[in-house]
Amino acid sequence: MKRKITLNTFAALIVSLVFLTSAQAQNQVRAVADTGIITIGPNQILRISGDGVDQDDPVVFRFRRIGYQAVSEAPGITKYTVSSNTITNPIMTTGLEGVAIVQGNLIGTDAVRVVVMSNRPNVRVNAALIDTATGNTQVLIALLLP
């Protein structure tokens, strides 16, 4: 009898540990898309948006914007180092989309990279380059998704 109780307690402990781990994994914000390092044209803006696959999903987004500055150049090769690194507050989206906009031609920034982070791995992320003069989408960027 005593052995049975011990076994039950042990099983209950394992189950609660599994639940806790999975809940924690869902709350953890991870990288879900990455633009890579790009130099946006002076008349372009980079617009990145994300939403959940199911519109009722409470999805959290954060956008990390990394600015780079050129430090050395060889023929054809330019090396950059991080000059700024900012991350937005968590943006909660339910039936809405989280959007980050990066202007081209930023002073002190030679290139930029945006990493999209979310608490859900199955989110939709779109990146587009928009002409600031006409408002037209010029380029849809094929993004990296894990």
Binding site: R30, A31, V32, D34, I37, R64, Y80, V115, L144
Partner: protein, 156 residues
């Protein structure tokens, strides 16, 4: 008792052997250079440049990247299908990337030949980046796409 000691020694030795083998495998895998990105063959316009960027997926500061540029010329065309043949190939020296560093490799403008391709090589599988075709006159990106494996290390 004697049997128990022998068994313990055997188990310990096995564990040591396995850990030595796996660490050796990890080191040799880290030194192995492999293709991590490839633009494929493309034809650039007279005012266009191809810019390939690479960032390191991890932060150990021991990784490097190389860019291989392959030039192509027309061989034979038949019914709209043209065969291209590699006519030149150059590979950059290894470029080491420390934490927070990135690198771009540019091809053009005025690329001779009928096609160009950039292959990205690295010792790190998590190396990733993107390739953009940029209009040299306006500075605008004409097209852009990502390559490699998305960074799974930047959790917050």
């Amino acid at each position: 008792m004697k049997r128990r000691i022998t068994l313990s020694i055997a188990i310990t030795l096995s564990i040591v052997a396995i850990s030595l083998t796996s660490s050796d495998t990890a080191v040799s895998a880290q030194n192995q250079i492999r293709v991590v990105g490839d633009t494929g063959v493309m034809k650039l316009g007279p005012n266009q440049v191809l810019r390939v960027g690479a960032v390191d997926g991890d932060t150990d500061g021991s990784d490097f990247v190389l860019f291989r540029r392959v030039g192509y010329t027309h061989d034979a065309c038949n019914g709209g299908v043209c065969k291209l043949v590699a006519s030149s190939q150059t590979t950059s020296s290894p470029i080491s990337l420390m934490t927070g560093e990135a690198v771009t490799f540019q091809v053009g403008p005025d690329v001779q030949g009928n096609g160009v391709r950039v292959v990205v090589l690295s010792n790190d599988r998590s190396m990733h980046g993107n390739a953009s075709i940029v209009d040299q006159v306006t500075g605008a990106i004409v097209t852009s796409w990502s390559w490699g494996v998305a960074n799974s290390g930047s959790s917050d």
